[in-house]
């Protein structure tokens, strides 16, 4: 393969501009030019528009939010399976899970989540004595708080909030003291029995930085999980947040200001 380096091309141009342009137009150098320009560097499809231009240490132009649409979730557990596969989460621990709510006509609330919804829901609940008034699934994951209590309590700086708003865990610094596990109002944290450090959902930070959607969002068959950029006026997230939908966050009174929003959330869950 005869490959031209940039310096060689420059030399060629210096030698005879007119001849060079003629050659390029004639197609003798054109092929070599294409070889110099790196092509096909993108390994992943860009599911989040403009994300692959963000190459700095932090994301600068985007503000991400997560919306879970309760009215669409069918409790199939695709998200839980994808999550387990993405991170090889040890048995009995869940970075994300799906709860089933059943409310009877006396307003008694029945909640269960067998194996975190990982195996799907195969059995109906038999112990509901009264006729069912309302029933739905609630997927749970990290709320990615604007004011995270887990970061505040960490004594070694192992859990932190990046400048782009993601709360991450540094498993090289974590001493597994479990302060953060107790501090999280949403119980999304656990001590990973394999790494022996605190672990939790990160909204798939590594995928997002490559322009991919979080694994659970990518697999959701009914599009109940939505992820996107609030600064992008064309994104679905932006449109939902600005239209008169019933949008709520969990435990609003805790003051953690979650970036995870629920669409069609019943008051029994909040």
């Amino acid at each position: 393969m005869d490959e031209l380096k940039l310096s060689e091309i420059r030399e060629e141009i210096q030698k005879d501009r007119r001849a060079f342009i003629k050659n390029v137009l004639g197609g003798t150098i054109a092929g070599s030019l294409l070889m110099v320009i790196p092509a096909g560097a993108m390994e992943f499809p860009e599911q989040i528009p403009g994300m692959q231009d963000e190459t700095g240490i932090f994301i600068t132009r985007k503000k991400f939010a997560f919306i879970v649409d309760i009215t669409r979730c069918i409790g199939c557990g695709s998200c839980c399976v994808a999550d387990k596969n993405e991170y090889k989460v040890p048995e009995g621990n869940y970075r994300t899970w799906v709860e089933r709510y059943i409310i009877d006509d006396h307003d008694n609330v029945f909640v269960d989540a067998p194996n975190g919804g990982l195996d799907g829901y195969t059995e109906p609940r038999e112990d509901v004595p009264n006729p069912v008034r309302d029933t739905f699934f609630v997927p749970k994951l990290c709320n990615m708080c604007e004011k995270p209590s887990c970061v505040q309590v960490c004594p070694v700086g192992a859990t932190f909030q990046t400048e782009d708003g993601f709360v991450l865990v540094d498993d090289k610094r974590c001493v597994a003291c479990s302060y953060c596990v107790q501090a999280c109002p949403y119980s999304v944290r656990f001590i990973n029995p394999v790494t022996k450090t605190a672990d939790k959902c990160t909204w798939c930070y590594h995928r997002v930085r490559k322009g991919l959607l979080p694994a659970c969002v990518n697999v959701c068959p009914t599009h109940a999980r939505k992820f996107g950029d609030l600064n992008d006026k064309k994104s679905e997230i932006y449109k939902i947040m600005r239209l008169p939908h019933i949008i709520s966050v969990l435990k609003h009174g805790m003051g953690n200001k979650p970036s995870l929003h629920y669409l069609g959330l019943r008051r029994e869950v909040v």
């Binding site: 992943f44 499809p45 599911q47 240490i57 932090f58 009215t71 669409r72 979730c73 069918i74 409790g75 199939c76 557990g77 695709s78 399976v81 994808a82 596969n85 993405e86 991170y87 090889k88 089933r100 709510y101 059943i102 799907g120 829901y121 195969t122 059995e123 109906p124 609940r125 069912v132 029933t135 739905f136 699934f137 700086g157 192992a158 859990t159 932190f160 909030q161 990046t162 400048e163 991450l168 540094d170 090289k172 610094r173 990160t202 930070y205 590594h206 995928r207 930085r209 490559k210 991919l212 694994a215 990518n218 697999v219 068959p221 009914t222 599009h223």
Partner: protein, 189 residues
């Protein structure tokens, strides 16, 4: 004249100062040794931790990346109502199957009873809590009785797992129950 009880030597003071110096130097050395150099650059954390997280291996790919190498399945899968279902939900993560588009291991394919379990994860009517309007729900074995087939049947004997109505539509067309051009459920095609 100085009183007797006051020591003429400062040995006790020197000892204390020496201990303080040793502790101070030791402390600074320990700090330099144990706190990574990139700690505290942007906040109370290690900047390298962000990079570590970014460099984590992507194990789940997208449907497009799977279908790129499986054009036959692509045609069927995207032509049916299951086009929104993730390949990796049933077959496992891409990272266990291919590295740089080269196959490293076979993907598991569910068969027999496992198929039924898999289908019922989404389509089981008896699990209350599902919004009825979003997907088709069936109850077993009533569905089989309704369709007048044996109750031992498993789903993929009538339904193609990648495009559930494919064979049903083809059969109905063959019997003249529906016209050649229209589908069974026009909104589904």
């Amino acid at each position: 004249m100085e009183p007797e009880y006051k020591s003429k030597y400062n040995a006790h003071l020197i000892k204390v100062i020496l201990v303080l110096i040793v502790l101070g130097v030791g402390g600074i050395a320990a700090q330099a040794l144990f706190i990574p150099s990139d700690f505290g650059e942007y906040g109370h954390y290690r900047t390298g931790a962000v990079e570590d997280e970014i460099n984590r291996l992507v194990r789940n790919q997208t449907n497009e990346s799977c279908l790129k190498c499986h054009p036959f399945i692509k045609k069927i899968h995207l032509g049916g109502v299951h086009k929104t279902v993730s390949c990796e939900f049933c077959h496992g993560p891409n990272a266990d199957h291919a590295v740089d588009e080269k196959k490293i291991a076979d993907m598991p394919v569910k068969r027999g009873k496992d198929i039924k379990t898999l289908c019922l994860r989404c389509h089981n009517k008896i699990i209350r809590a599902r919004p009825e309007e979003s997907i088709k729900m069936i109850a077993m074995p009533q569905h089989l009785e309704e369709k007048r087939v044996q109750t031992t049947h498993i789903c993929n004997q009538c339904h193609h797992v990648h495009a559930p109505m494919k064979w049903v539509i083809e059969a109905k067309k063959a019997h003249g129950l529906i016209k050649e051009k229209e589908g069974l459920f026009p909104w589904m095609n």
